[in-house]
């Protein structure tokens, strides 16, 4: 069990009368590529916010690399090794692409030499095919390029676990290929990835394990093929074929 990086135990979140996340438990090992799916309002983003420290859980515990992180500030969770992207891309608009990369680099390692961080940033931007935009303000980037930048910033943190919230939404197919390669590369580097997406093709192609949420509760957790045929998942999200 020493390779468990992230562990959620009975995590709940209630907003007034709405139970957004309902006693969810699962663990993530390293390396692992997990897809998280569920209908709109299932609690995926709320669960992401709970894991990343943006929200405090109403109940339950979260451990990252053996350290309890629930209720900690987002920057502490990030520094502990959990990185995330946002469903709606949040580039730092009036900062250049390089500055966007340096912020997590310096926050993660304040004593690092800026030259070294810039070199590392260029390598990552090159991997993401946006090195030529290094000196551009990020507000000038297209939606897809901003997604890539957000993914690049994560690597500057060198996290143990990465949560990608809708990385393919509104992205041109050519850039989607780059994101596929990115996910594969990060997985090969030994990191754990939780991929949240409505792009079922991408989720089933990339994920080795699937977690399904519905009304805030975890209704399935297993290998993609088994989950795909789970009647509860079909009822809640995937639906029946018309000719059945």
């Amino acid at each position: 069990m020493s390779d468990i990086q992230l562990e959620l135990n009975q995590i709940s979140k209630r907003f007034g009368g709405n139970q957004a996340v309902d006693h969810v438990s699962f663990s993530v090992t390293q390396p692992e590529l997990i897809g998280m799916i569920g209908p709109n309002g299932a609690g995926k983003t709320t669960l992401t916010n709970l894991m990343s420290g943006m929200l405090k859980p109403s109940g339950g515990t979260i451990y990252l690399n053996g350290r309890r992180i629930d209720g900690h500030a987002p920057y502490e969770v990030t520094r502990a090794g959990l990185g995330r992207t946002f469903q709606v891309t949040r580039a730092l608009n009036r900062m250049t692409v390089m500055e966007n990369m340096l912020v997590p680099g310096l926050a993660h390692n304040p004593s690092a030499r800026r030259d070294n961080l810039q070199e590392r940033a260029r390598d990552i931007l090159s991997l993401l095919t946006i090195e030529h935009l290094t000196n551009e303000y990020s507000r000038a980037l297209s939606g897809g390029q901003r997604k890539l930048l957000e993914l690049g910033r994560l690597l500057m943190l060198d996290p143990l676990v990465i949560i990608l919230d809708e990385p393919f939404a509104g992205v041109h197919p050519r850039l989607q290929e780059t994101i596929y390669k990115y996910i594969d590369r990060v997985y090969q580097d030994g990191k754990a990835i939780i991929l949240i997406s409505h792009n079922m093709g991408a989720v089933f192609e990339l994920s080795h394990r699937l977690i399904v949420l519905n009304f805030g509760a975890l209704i399935a957790d297993g290998d993609p093929q088994t989950v795909k045929n789970d009647p509860a998942v079909i009822d809640a999200y995937l639906g029946h074929d018309e000719d059945e």
Partner: protein
């Protein structure tokens, strides 16, 4: 335009824009160092310059707080006032900490000591306000700081037994120089040195990793936090830092350097609006732009108090003169308002931004980026053609 392009190319090919910018900045500093030695200049003009330096500190520190860190505060003048009032009250009344058995009499507190205490108290209040503002953003932050500022002003106005009310509070003079001309010269250099030191300190912060974190917070606090930036720490830190800067400036300026007394009128929202206007006109994301905007605006507002208008086409007035003096009164502020409207509508980064941007050479870097991008597009087009 062609001539400008040729000059631009010549500069880029020789000294370089950045170096030229530093050289010009050096010349400006030399001018300010020489200026008090110009015997043709009256003490009044030197006083205007001293006031310009003071407002340059206020505007540039506000630019750091609001333009760079994104904390749109209206409490800046209140922190300046805290520095001045606390320095004045300590120097006049002293203080006793009965529980600690410490009694500081007015005689035991020097002018410099009082200024230091005023600065520290301004920073301490900045710490509390910064903490209270942690969860407030944009309009709520502005409204909170307006309320705080007004609260402080009314307290200073009402507690006239201690603060002198609307008559204001005289601070102990920092300098004891009998000769007026010499005193004015020293005051000039002191305020100019303070401006340079404050600008250097703020520049250091703005161009350090902390400055980068502050800009990240300005853009998106949640995203900055998710990238590992301790938003709480830097938000409080920038409030404390800028509060201490303006607290120090206020305590020194009103210690008979620029003015002999601090009055509650100086803490009105209108005065705060002027600080913001100077920064906006100069460029609120640039410390140098905001400082220059404040200095130039202050100078022009003074220079425009009386405007001599010469009649054209040989026209004369009934008394035979061909010119008259227009006492502009409040109209100069109206004109200033027009400049602000123009700036906000057409040059949101400030009137000085194009000049500062040109000297930074950023457009050269951008051109380079665009040319690389064109090459990439060409490569992509080639790939598609061959595919």
């Amino acid at each position: 335009m062609a001539l400008f392009k040729r000059i631009e190319s010549a500069i880029d090919g020789s000294i370089g824009r950045r170096r030229l910018g530093y050289a010009l900045l050096g010349l400006v500093i030399l001018f300010f160092l020489w200026f008090p030695n110009d015997t043709s200049q009256s003490n009044y003009v030197k006083t205007v310059f001293i006031s310009g330096f003071f407002y340059a500190i206020l505007s540039s520190s506000w630019a750091l707080l609001a333009g760079i860190a994104g904390q749109f505060s209206f409490g800046h003048m209140a922190f300046m006032g805290i520095g001045a009032y606390v320095a004045g009250l300590f120097a006049r009344d002293g203080i006793t900490f009965a529980a600690l058995g410490i009694a500081l009499t007015p005689e035991s507190i020097s002018s410099v000591g009082a200024i230091v205490i005023g600065t520290i108290v301004a920073g301490a209040v900045g710490l509390v306000i910064g903490w209270l503002l942690l969860r407030l953003r944009s309009a709520y932050l502005a409204l909170f700081t307006i309320a705080f500022s007004e609260l402080f002003r009314i307290a200073m106005l009402t507690e006239y037994d201690y603060t002198g009310g609307s008559n204001g509070l005289s601070l102990r003079p920092l300098l004891q120089v009998a000769d007026v001309d010499t005193a004015r010269q020293i005051e000039y250099y002191l305020m100019f040195a303070l401006l340079i030191v404050c600008l250097l300190l703020m520049y250091r912060v703005a161009h350090s990793p902390i400055g980068m974190f502050l800009r990240a917070m300005r853009e998106d606090e949640d995203a900055a936090s998710a990238l590992g930036v301790n938003v709480v720490r830097y938000k409080i830190l920038i409030f404390v830092f800028t509060s201490m800067i303006v607290g120090l400036a206020g305590a020194i300026f009103y210690s008979d350097i620029g003015s002999e007394r601090i009055i509650p009128e100086q803490l009105e929202v209108l005065q705060m609006s002027l600080i913001i206007a100077y920064a906006v006109i100069g460029g609120m994301e640039s410390l140098l732009g905001a400082a220059a905007g404040a200095f130039i605006s202050r100078y022009l507002l003074e220079a425009m108090r009386e405007v001599v208008i010469t009649l054209p086409l040989g026209l004369t007035l009934p008394d035979g003169s061909d010119a008259f003096v227009w006492e502009t009164g409040a109209w100069r502020f109206a004109l200033f308002g027009l400049v602000m409207v123009f700036t906000l509508r057409y040059m949101r980064n400030g009137l000085l931004y194009p000049i500062l941007d040109w000297f930074s050479g950023r457009d050269l870097i951008m051109q380079e980026t665009v040319s690389i991008r064109k090459s990439d597009d060409d490569v992509a087009a080639d790939m598609e053609d061959s595919g």
